[in-house]
């Protein structure tokens, strides 16, 4: 097969990964992003990598434009149309506040109240009409909306998941008045109950659709102009791909697709290396993202809070974030206790050692001062040839004076705190799910992940850490190895005992047909289709549901038995005879692309690696430490800590008391000695 390109457009960097034959890694590249027009950064990256149009069969792409537009509130002006009495649903949320402590601050709904309207109609929870739709009022409303400068109209009526007729009728009337409006109905985005979450998801879709559609058109034009006639697929937050041409209609699905791509890649590389249970740790400049992969499958969140009172009810790879990154600032609290983050020095002024005027000590300054990163070869910085170590020492020294510690001791203290925060979050994530983190392998990646992975591993009690061949561009790789994916869901909310096998089978069959039709529309070259079904189930009255794998043809008894099995696996017991409810039925349709299935690991004969040099590095004291060049390490190479592994996209720290070896795929596996 011909070449594939994976490109992840992040807020700061655009990462590129190129494979000439779909399996080898032929080019890896990091260039600055171009936030004013992200498509430019993408074509720039292609040009910088010197990739000719003819050498590319497929472009696979992750992007943060959707995430940024929501967080920065830069999406389209939308109107919202709701059932009479419920226009504030989007703003009310479900009675909460931003933080557990502190009552100040407001929210900024994606659609402000003045742009929210009501129509008279009402359905009940079975979808039966309680009050018919007042179509004259909808037509009058269309005239009002025409006087507003809105690009998109979101229609979210109560119980539309049970019966979308009214929403669709409102959509048709609006479109007959103004065909240019992009009209989003809530049931077309989420076929599930919970009016706030569904309305919010539809609002995110409406808010992003014009912007994302323009981006897709723009990118297509630029690629065509440069001779790329290849298909482009874009990463979604569920870890699957969608064609560029369909991007506008899937705008809400690409929010936070970059982190999802990283988890997909980490899961895939680990599975290939023989590890099915994985914790992924992605540390960049401002944050640490952690996720869990059990049995090869990344865990999925059904709802994700994009911002305060902006939930997105779409299945997304469950990535947890804390504010701990290379730019995190160390400071003393009012009790005189050392803290690191969540405040970050950002790109400007950045860490003190970046020479852009930063004076407060950051995690990156610590790694520089302790010689863990190579001051002579700064990664990703074009404006300076070497890191400003004296500036970093001053920043850390100022803090150290207030603690009564020297520069190195202070730096090590900062490391200890930031590592503890990341290790703590990593542990909590597994504890929340009742998993023992010691049964997992840590895949550390991102620009800073491999610098701290060894410490996280030690703190959490993880036995093995895997550092992929190109940890700094793993999200781009994740795009390249993903499959196409569509998730469909529908609220049932009935006692399992009242459901007959025929109803279950027909809902699942309809979802399967719809997913498969979308795959056909994608025109992507696929080697197969995988369909899986599950039900969200609970004991009657419970709010939390469990995800239970189900099959078409199952009747009440099989459903209940499967729920009891899942409940026992999760909680260790069942609640006896309490009735069981089926909240929703779900189907995932996966279109498999060629070459996305892992190959088996080979045994390789161990041989000691040769260091490329040595330098003193601080591990509780200055230790003469071997430096290895990642590019020269061959499968089978072994070495022991303390050691520093350098490569173009990141630096890896192997602590004293750890040993490392390179597997047949070029992963570095680090273990406690």
């Amino acid at each position: 097969m011909a070449g594939i390109v994976g490109i992840d457009v992040g807020g700061t960097f655009t990462d590129l990964y190129y494979s000439a034959d779909g399996t080898t890694v032929d080019r890896v590249l990091k260039v600055p992003s171009t936030p004013d027009d992200p498509s430019r950064g993408l074509v720039d990256a292609l040009a910088a990598a010197g990739i000719a149009p003819g050498a590319v069969d497929l472009i696979l792409h992750g992007t943060t434009i959707a995430t940024n537009a929501v967080i920065e509130r830069k999406g389209a002006r939308c109107a919202l149309v709701t059932t009479k009495g419920f226009r504030d649903i989007l703003e009310l949320g479900r009675r909460d506040r931003q933080r557990m402590y502190g009552l100040t601050g407001v929210q900024h709904p994606l659609i402000p109240r003045a742009d929210r309207f009501e129509v008279d109609e009402r359905l009940d929870h079975q979808g039966r009409v309680v009050r018919p739709l007042d179509e004259d009022a909808v037509r009058a409303l269309a005239d009002v909306l025409a006087g507003l400068d809105v690009e998109a109209v979101v229609v979210a009526l109560l119980h539309a998941y049970a019966n979308p007729d009214h929403e669709e009728r409102v959509r048709d009337i609006l479109l007959s008045r103004e065909p240019a409006w992009q009209v989003v109905t809530s049931a077309s985005v989420v076929r599930e109950y919970y009016e706030f979450e569904r309305t919010s998801t539809a609002a995110v879709q409406g808010y992003l659709q014009p912007l994302v559609a323009r981006y897709a058109d723009n990118l297509s034009a630029k690629l065509t102009e440069r001779g790329f006639r290849t298909q482009t697929l874009v990463m979604q937050s569920n870890g699957g791909l969608v064609p560029l041409a369909h991007l506008g209609s899937r705008a809400a699905n690409i929010v936070r697709s970059g982190p999802a791509a990283g988890v997909m890649a980490a899961a895939r590389l680990a599975a290939q290396a023989g590890f099915d249970n994985v914790i992924t740790g992605d540390m960049g400049g401002t944050s640490y993202d952690v996720a869990v992969v059990v049995g090869g499958s990344p865990s999925v969140a059904e709802t994700t809070e994009l911002d305060f009172r902006v939930p997105l009810r779409l299945p997304m790879i469950d990535v947890h974030t804390i504010g701990a990154g290379g730019g995190s600032i160390a400071h003393l609290d009012r009790g005189g206790i050392l803290q690191v983050g969540p405040e970050s020095a950002g790109a400007v002024p950045g860490p003190a050692c970046f020479g852009r005027g930063g004076t407060r000590p950051t995690v990156t300054d610590v790694n520089a001062v302790l010689a863990r990163i190579n001051a002579e070869h700064p990664i990703g910085l074009k404006h300076l040839d070497r890191l400003d170590i004296p500036a970093a020492r001053r920043a850390i020294g100022d803090l150290g004076e207030r603690l009564g510690l020297g520069v190195e001791e202070t730096a090590e203290a900062i490391l200890a705190i930031v590592n503890q925060r990341m290790a703590g979050r990593t542990r909590l994530l597994s504890v929340e799910r009742g998993l023992d983190p010691r049964d997992f392998v840590l895949v550390a990646f991102g620009g800073a992940g491999p610098l701290h992975g060894a410490a996280i591993m030690r703190e959490v009690g993880i036995r093995t850490m895997l550092i992929p061949p190109h940890p700094g561009v793993l999200c781009a790789l994740g795009c390249a190895i993903a499959d196409l994916r569509h998730d469909l869901s529908r609220t049932i909310e009935r006692r399992a005992a009242d459901l007959d096998a025929g109803t279950v089978a027909s809902v699942l069959a309809e979802q399967r047909r719809e997913g498969e039709a979308r795959l056909v529309q994608s025109e992507a070259r696929l080697v197969g289709t995988e369909v899986s079904h599950h039900a969200e189930m609970s004991y009657a009255g419970q709010i939390h549901t469990l995800r239970v794998p189900v099959e078409p043809g199952w009747g009440p008894e099989r459903l209940v038995a499967a729920f009891h099995d899942a409940y026992r696996a999760e909680y260790g017991n069942t609640l006896g005879d309490i009735p069981v409810s089926v909240v929703s039925l779900k189907t995932a349709v996966l279109g498999r692309r060629a070459g996305t299935r892992p190959e088996a690991a080979r045994e390789v004969a161990p041989s000691p690696a040769r260091p490329s040099g040595r330098r003193p590095v601080y591990f509780g004291g200055w230790i003469d430490t071997a430096i290895y060049d990642r590019a020269t390490l061959v499968p089978g190479a072994t070495f022991t800590g303390p050691a520093i592994l350098e490569q173009a996209d990141t630096t890896t720290v192997i602590e004293p008391g750890m040993r490392a070896r390179v597997d047949s795929f070029g992963n570095v596996l680090v273990e406690m000695a």
Partner: protein, 584 residues
């Protein structure tokens, strides 16, 4: 003290109690624990009972309640020969452990090298503790026995063995014995989780270093809290606020707080507060103390949760008042009573440091409970809707809409989910227009919802804040008061006790309409940016009369767009009017 060890030990202690929280939230059978985090876990000094660390996932209302409970259990245990390794003590007596009978507290000593090192304690909300009403909340209760069974501090486990007879006695008196046993087992298991974490810490640092770190951490938290308190000008700040009534007798109940700041010491003096009521609008002194500290933590959220942060506060809460209830006063109204404690602390601090304190939030939990038989399934249902409401404005911002009470994190049910479960139809769920206090920053609007019964059922409501509105600060106006109306047989009916009503029968077609208070305003309304006044007006958050009277705005143009009026304000005329009315 080595600053690195100190910082790392702090993180490790927090991690232990956070993990305990998450273990119970995952393992509990009680949906109140697993779904609204109605629990808390902490580590306490074995001698003084001071909080060493408390988990970050439990509810705010338990912030300092746990410490005062542990202190009292230490005394109870001492009277019976003290703690021994493997012991677990249990208590739910609210005059000792605060809140209400459903919150059951377990306390267990942890030994290091054969000597008591510290105490673990946890609390969880058990679904039913017996009493006259399932779930425990009996609005007409006039003595605690109607609310459920009382467990005084007792040794539940001795040398690792659980007293099965005691457990049987408890389960024989509750409606969900199996669930209770599951929750009890889960809470006992959590101590093992905590112990593993603490043992690892002892192994790593040694007992002496760990002990020294703990002492130092408490001292540092005290320093941190005092650094904030020292910035509050010295003086005594007195406030009075009111409850409408106790749900039985229609007479207002005074809450009086004189908060004295001297240097970095605080004295909360509630002398002058109304005596204990016949109805359930009472709380224990432990809960009052805890809510004072919750209010402080909302104002200074950076201060860590441990006993050091509580040291600067002293309390005078006269026994026999509604804020220091004693046997046999009922305490089921705790969810509403605690709100006023937060309100008076904010109001007192607002006199001293208005730049740091929000105006009063909505101030009532306004729980509406609807129960009956579902006409389609015949099954009994109990639907519980707690009030959302507006938060007060602050120097930083306008107030939030649809907030949860300051001591809680519990959410409002989804309308669609509610209609699936209960024979009740929502007519609206909306921002309550014109209900936030006026100000430079406007208080958050309250919320309003109405539900219509589709079959015969019964509704009880426990609210407050009808006669006394949430006040503003720094010249900001008060919010709209609570408003409860029922429509019975086509006629509007306001309960005689305004927002408290007990077991009112509803027939199909009858409805209940509730409108919660907003939050108080911050600062002079005439100083509010006219563009924001115009925006609020066009969003319907305020009406024209409010814009003109409260904000001194002059309307230049009003035009109808659909069924709405869109206004343009006259900036010059508005400024002139504001100037004139200021002088006048």
């Amino acid at each position: 003290m080595d600053p690195v060890t100190l910082a790392v030990v702090r993180g490790a202690l927090d991690q232990i109690t956070d993990e305990m929280d998450l273990h119970l939230i995952r393992a509990a059978l009680s949906p109140i624990i697993s779904e609204t985090n109605d629990c808390a876990h902490g580590l306490y000094d074995a001698a003084t009972g001071e909080t060493i660390a408390q988990g970050g996932y439990g509810l705010p209302q338990f912030l300092a309640n746990m410490q005062s409970t542990v202190i009292r259990v230490i005394a109870a245990a001492a009277a019976e020969g003290g703690f021994a390794e493997g012991d677990v003590w249990i208590v739910n007596d609210p005059y000792i452990s605060g809140t209400h009978l459903n919150d059951v507290v377990l306390v267990s000593p942890v030994y290091v090298g054969g000597r008591p090192f510290a105490l673990f304690a946890n609390t969880g909300h058990w679904m039913d503790m017996g009493g006259s009403v399932p779930g425990g909340w009996a609005p007409s209760a006039t003595e605690i026995h109607q609310e459920g069974i009382i467990i005084p501090p007792l040794r539940l486990c001795e040398a690792g063995r659980t007293n099965a007879a005691l457990v049987r006695l408890i389960t024989a008196n509750v409606r969900l014995p199996q669930q209770l046993q599951g929750d009890l087992a889960a809470m006992l298991n959590v101590f093992a989780v905590g112990r593993r974490g603490l043992d690892a810490l002892v192994a790593k640092y040694g007992e002496a270093t760990l002990r020294a770190c703990i002492d130092e951490l408490l001292a540092r938290s005290e320093t941190q809290m005092r650094s904030y308190l020292a910035e509050i000008p010295d003086g005594t700040y007195a406030v009075e606020d009111w409850f409408d009534n106790d749900g039985v007798t229609d007479a207002p109940l005074k809450v009086r707080l004189a908060l004295t700041v001297s240097g970095s010491d605080l004295h909360f003096d509630f002398t002058g507060t109304a005596p204990t009521t016949r109805g359930p609008m009472n709380i224990s002194d432990g809960t009052t103390q805890s809510m004072c500290l919750v209010a402080l933590k909302h104002v200074f959220p950076d201060v860590p949760v441990n006993g050091g942060a509580f040291r600067p506060a002293r309390f005078t809460i006269p026994p026999g008042t509604i804020l220091a209830a004693q046997y046999p006063s009922p305490v089921g109204g705790t969810t509403d009573v605690v709100q006023r404690v937060v309100d008076v602390v904010f109001a007192a601090l607002a006199q001293a440091i208005p730049e740091r304190v929000p105006a009063a939030p909505f101030g009532t939990t306004g729980v509406a409970t609807v129960s009956g038989r579902h006409p389609e399934t015949g099954a009994t249902f109990v639907a519980v809707y707690p009030y959302p409401g507006g938060y007060g404005a602050s120097r930083e911002s306008d107030g939030l809409v649809n907030g949860t009470p300051p001591g809680s994190m519990a959410k409002f049910m989804s309308v669609e989910m509610s209609e699936h479960r209960y024979p009740l139809r929502f007519e609206h769920y909306a921002i309550r227009e014109n209900s936030g206090g006026a100000g430079l920053h406007r208080g958050g609007c309250g919320s309003t919802y109405a539900i219509t019964a589709l079959g015969d059922c019964v509704v009880s409501i426990l609210g407050d804040r009808v006669d006394h509105r949430p006040p503003g600060i720094e010249g900001g106006g008060p919010a709209a008061p609570n408003d409860v109306r029922l429509r019975l047989d086509g006629r509007e009916w306001v309960p005689p006790l305004r927002s408290k009503a007990e077991r009112v029968p509803l027939k199909a077609g009858d409805s209940v309409r509730l409108a919660s208070p907003g939050g108080g305003g911050y600062g002079d309304p005439f100083a509010r940016d006219l563009a924001l006044v115009e925006q609020d007006l066009n969003a319907g958050l305020i009406d024209r009369a409010t814009a003109e009277t409260a904000y001194g705005a002059v309307v230049a143009e009003a035009r109808a767009v659909g069924d709405r009026q869109i206004y343009r304000l006259d900036a010059a005329a508005s400024e002139a009017q504001r100037r004139g009315r200021r002088i006048g």
